[in-house]
């Protein structure tokens, strides 16, 4: 995608998004509700067309020419209520260009895999929402697409089915398929994706591997639980390299000076204060997410200097380099 822009009336849904997703990777789209995730995905799918900018999918000018090689699970789940489950899947696969020969056993095989073999002859309207979702997932992978786009695939699933679906997605990834999925459940993104795209207010605000994001958003903080009750802030503050200490939920959150080695700081703290537990704070995607969305006014989401994180964040989205401190 190259500076793609899409407006609905006066509302700008997507503003100048650049994006390239390498083959065989698994990308997570995160972002708050209404951020433009679905619009972006619909543009990739050529269901919507950008007002300006360019995009190419699977080497073609638009997805129109390669629809049969893409599997799509839209956010709005839809099935033909009166159609039988197996027939619906066969119809979708045929619409995707598959031959009817050998299709039926294939559909049954998939239904068995998601434990829905017994509903093949039932009408779609008789299924529960979670079941319908699994049926739809089958519809999106049945024709063995090279690119699988899943919009909020986990919403509304129970933990068992969530795990089932996660395994299925990982399996597709292992088979060399490119997977893009959107979610606002951060744990899902963290556990599946190797690359995260975050869209906020129609703009791309994050585009990196999970590891890079973690290190960039490293809060340079250490959690310390002192062995003795009471406030040990003063003692910890005295340790060289410690920028600030504050108490949060019964433990000390120690922020380090920039460039300070965490291992060394930890050892210094241990010698300075008797402690029962000490650990390096790792940023979760949720922290990053809330940080970006709330613009750094999230209260206790991250126990670090908000301004600093914002600067890091902005440094991540290239064009705003000069704002970085």
């Amino acid at each position: 995608m190259n500076s793609v822009r899409k407006t609905f009336g006066r509302k700008v849904a997507v503003e100048g998004i650049d994006l390239s997703i390498p083959q065989g990777s698994i990308y997570g789209f995160i972002g708050p509700n209404g951020a433009g995730k679905t619009t972006t995905i619909r543009m990739i799918m050529s269901i919507l067309f950008p007002d300006s900018g360019e995009l190419s999918v699977l080497g073609k000018k638009s997805a129109v020419e390669s629809k049969d090689r893409i599997g799509y699970l839209p956010e709005e789940r839809g099935v033909y209520k009166k159609m039988k489950v197996a027939n619906f899947l066969i119809y979708m696969a045929r619409l995707k260009g598959l031959d009817s020969a050998g299709l039926k056993p294939k559909v049954m095989e998939w239904l068995e895999r998601v434990e829905l073999a017994d509903v093949a002859k039932k009408k779609c309207e008789e299924l529960s929402k979670g079941m319908q979702q699994k049926v739809q997932f089958i519809a999106s992978v049945l024709h063995e697409p090279d690119l699988i786009i899943l919009d909020e695939p986990f919403s509304g699933l129970d933990p068992v089915n969530m795990r089932l679906l996660r395994d299925l997605i990982n399996e597709q990834h292992t088979a060399g398929k490119t997977v893009i999925f959107s979610t606002h459940v951060m744990q899902q993104a963290e556990s599946i994706c190797d690359h995260i795209i975050m869209i906020h207010e129609g703009k791309k605000v994050l585009d990196d591997t999970l590891g890079t994001i973690r290190s960039r958003f490293d809060p340079r903080a250490i959690h310390v639980e002192a062995a003795n009750a009471g406030n040990q802030s003063q003692a910890i503050s005295a340790v060289p390299g410690v920028a600030s200490v504050r108490i949060h939920e019964g433990h000390h959150v120690v922020t380090l000076d920039e460039g300070m080695d965490k291992q060394q700081a930890m050892q210094s703290i241990i010698t300075a204060v008797p402690i029962s537990k000490i650990e390096i704070k790792r940023p979760t995607l949720e922290d990053v997410f809330i940080e970006i969305v709330t613009g750094g006014h999230s209260g206790d989401a991250m126990d670090t200097d908000h301004e600093q994180v914002r600067a890091k964040l902005l440094a991540g989205s290239k064009e705003t380099q000069e704002v970085a401190s």
Binding site: R42, M45, I47, L48, G78, V79, Y80, Y91, L95, G97
Partner: protein
């Protein structure tokens, strides 16, 4: 455009509409059952006839010469003979009209009607008529069951003394008077009345010295079928009913077929949109492919209705031996006009279906469409009366009502010239392209728009947008 996808969408559209129990029962079985029921109803209503009247007729014959003929004419044997003969003639007539099966049905129906049976009793020429009439009243008042039903008095006939022979040359003939027991079958009354008149007439001919057969010969003129002279030759004279029947039937059939397809198209489009299945579909095919597939699929639904109803209609015409009322050319034109009308209506339906969120919202946008569809009904009378009037010609050129007006004209006994038909088809083809273009624009934008239903202004905006 990928034709395989269009065909698959169309196939599903057709199957999900026409291969349902509801559709097959509603559209196909009901008319078939009705057609099968009609003869059954005829038979049932015939067999529901009241039992035949049996009883006595008193004849006070003051002329003293009518009774003999009357007693022969109303004797059980001659009555039965006459009734059987009448049933046979009716069935032969029906065979000519409706084919062998129709004739048999009439014959069956007639066999259920029971022949009346009379006992003709003369009274003394000087008997008191009041006394005889009193017997009917007494029988009814007492209500006693008679030993033999034949004793039941059905009627009293009083024949004037000069009924068959004038008293003197300057005066006219006398007449007769009948008194009936109430609630007799119509056939019984008719049988008795005609029997008396026949007997009196018979006596009059004889008294005047005339030969009955000669009179019959003189009075009867063979009927021949009248014909109309046309440009091509001659044809059976078209009756008033026939001139109306075919154009009206054609119009109604065309409206039913187009509306059925159009209505289903609207419903399935709204269903796909409100089910949110549309986005999955759009990941597999383009909006144009989807719309084209749906329109083609429902066209199949409309066409199958047309084929079934047309075959029934043609079968009926064959049965009534009136196949001359329609020509092969009319049938071909019928299908052409169906396609033109259907594509225009379907475009509107697809556009509306894609623009709204549910059936309720569709109603307000449907109102103008339905009003347009009503127009052909208003023009039905003037167009059928004068298929080539200025009004008929002008309205023929206004899409989307044009095909409906044209179907009335081409199926009338006075179809428009071929050049004009061709011109109308051309105009409609242009209109169809315009309608489809408009629909495609709205369809593309509308399908994924949820929320407030659009009004005409937003629709125009969408057209500009797409």
């Amino acid at each position: 455009m990928n034709f395989t996808k269009i065909i698959r969408v169309a196939g599903r559209e057709f199957a999900s509409t026409a291969m349902t129990k509801g559709f097959i029962i509603g559209a196909l079985v009901v008319p078939a059952v009705m057609a099968a029921l009609i003869p059954l109803i005829v038979i049932l209503s015939a067999s529901a006839q009241p039992s035949a009247d049996k009883g006595t007729i008193y004849v006070l014959d003051r002329s003293s010469e009518v009774f003999e003929d009357l007693s022969h004419r109303l004797s059980p044997e001659t009555v039965r003979e006459r009734w059987e003969d009448r049933a046979k003639r009716a069935s032969e007539f029906a065979k000519g009209m409706m084919g062998n099966s129709g004739g048999e049905q009439i014959e069956n129906a007639m066999s259920f009607i029971k022949t009346p049976e009379f006992r003709i009793i003369p009274t003394a020429p000087d008997a008191d008529i009041e006394e005889i009439k009193a017997e009917i009243r007494d029988q009814m008042v007492s209500g006693v069951e008679l030993d033999d039903p034949m004793y039941k008095v059905l009627a009293v006939v009083e024949v004037d003394i000069d009924a068959a022979k004038k008293a003197n040359e300057s005066e006219g003939y006398g007449s007769y008077q009948t008194f009936f027991r109430p609630k007799l079958n119509e056939e019984t009354v008719g049988e008795i009345e005609s029997g008396i008149r026949w007997s009196i007439r018979e006596r009059r001919y004889e008294n005047a010295g005339l030969d009955r057969t000669q009179i019959a010969e003189l009075a009867s003129i063979d009927e021949r079928e009248s014909k109309e002279i046309t440009e091509e030759g001659e044809r059976k004279e078209s009756s008033e009913i026939a001139t109306f029947l075919i154009p009206v039937a054609s119009l109604v059939l065309l409206i039913i077929a187009t509306m059925t397809g159009g209505q289903y198209l609207l419903t399935t489009t709204i269903e796909e949109k409100s089910n949110r299945v549309v986005e999955v579909l759009l990941s597999a095919c383009s909006p144009m492919e989807l719309m084209t597939g749906k329109i083609v699929g429902q066209m199949g639904v409309g066409l199958s209705l047309l084929v079934v109803y047309n075959s029934v209609g043609i079968a009926a015409l064959i049965a009534f031996n009136r196949l001359d009322m329609i020509s092969g050319q009319t049938i071909i034109l019928f299908f052409i006009f169906f396609l033109l009308a259907y594509f225009m209506l379907a475009s509107m339906m697809a556009a509306i279906g894609s623009a709204v969120n549910d059936m309720r919202e569709a109603q307000s946008l449907m109102t103008p469409v339905m009003l347009v569809m009503m127009i052909p009904y208003f023009f039905f009378m003037p167009v059928v009366r004068a298929p080539n009037s200025m009004l008929s010609t002008v309205t023929s050129f206004i899409p989307p009502i044009s095909p409906f007006i044209m179907i009335m004209r081409v199926s009338s006994t006075d179809p428009p010239p071929p050049l004009q038909i061709a011109a109308v088809i051309l105009v409609n083809m242009v209109a169809v392209v315009a309608f489809l273009w408009f629909a495609a624009k709205v369809f593309r934008v509308g399908l994924l728009m949820y929320g407030k239903p659009p009004n005409l202004r937003t629709l125009i905006k969408w057209i500009r947008m797409a």
